[in-house]
Symmetry: C2
Subunit: 139 residues, 2 copies
């Protein structure tokens, strides 16, 4: 498996990737990255962050997804490997939290969809919308 790499390995890129690695599975938005860079004393423009994130998505190191219109794009570091099977995203429409739920049942469902309906779901980019337990309890 070839590695598709950007031509230059700049300081900015290193810092961004370093930060993303440290998040390990957590979701981040562009402003998070900018804030973290500032905290680390790395001066980096918003444009650069957008461009690096775009590149990382192309390289498959990061996935990008969102749920509601107008909200900033949500990114997640996945690394070189495409592991982490059976880990899905759920967004609560009330409290806005993004939850990760591991579940094996889904695998069968997705296989069924692929085989019988022809659609190959990419769970790294899919976000389930709904209500989390806490918000349901307090309703």
């Amino acid at each position: 498996m070839e590695q598709i790499r950007s031509k230059y390995n700049t300081r900015h890129r290193q810092e961004i990737v370093d930060y993303l690695e440290s998040t390990q599975g957590e979701h981040v938005i562009v402003s998070d990255v900018c804030a973290e860079m500032a905290k680390r004393g790395v001066k980096v423009g918003t444009t650069t962050v957008y461009r690096q994130m775009e590149r990382l998505v192309e390289e498959g190191i990061v996935t990008r997804f969102t749920s509601f219109p107008g909200e900033p794009a949500c990114y997640q570091y996945v690394g070189d490997k495409s592991e982490e099977v059976g880990h899905y995203h759920f967004k609560c429409k009330k409290c806005g939290r993004l939850l990760h739920i591991s579940c094996h049942e889904f695998g069968h469902c997705m296989e069924h969809i692929k085989i019988d309906h022809g659609f190959e779901v990419d769970m790294t980019q899919t976000v389930f919308i709904g209500l989390c337990k806490e918000c349901r309890d307090t309703e």
Copy 2:
């Protein structure tokens, strides 16, 4: 079951709802509504469409969802009834089409998620991201 209605039933609102009803399950964006209003000779501002759509979402007559950042919000007429069970949304990340797939397998999955993981998924707002059959075949 009470009906939550907007106070005034204006001409604009009637026209918009009338058009949405005629789409029956198809997804529309704000510019579609504006274009259709223009075609019908109804002069209506974009702001009004946004505000009416927002209200219709609150009333549960319309659902709103999207998949990728920067894209316009996607609306779907569902009417007063919350029928149409087992009908899910799939968006192809290659050709951009939004497909509707009916499937009974999902019901069990969603029940499992609700009971064992505590998260109640709202499938009317959830969009599965992936690749459609046609795009997979032509790859």
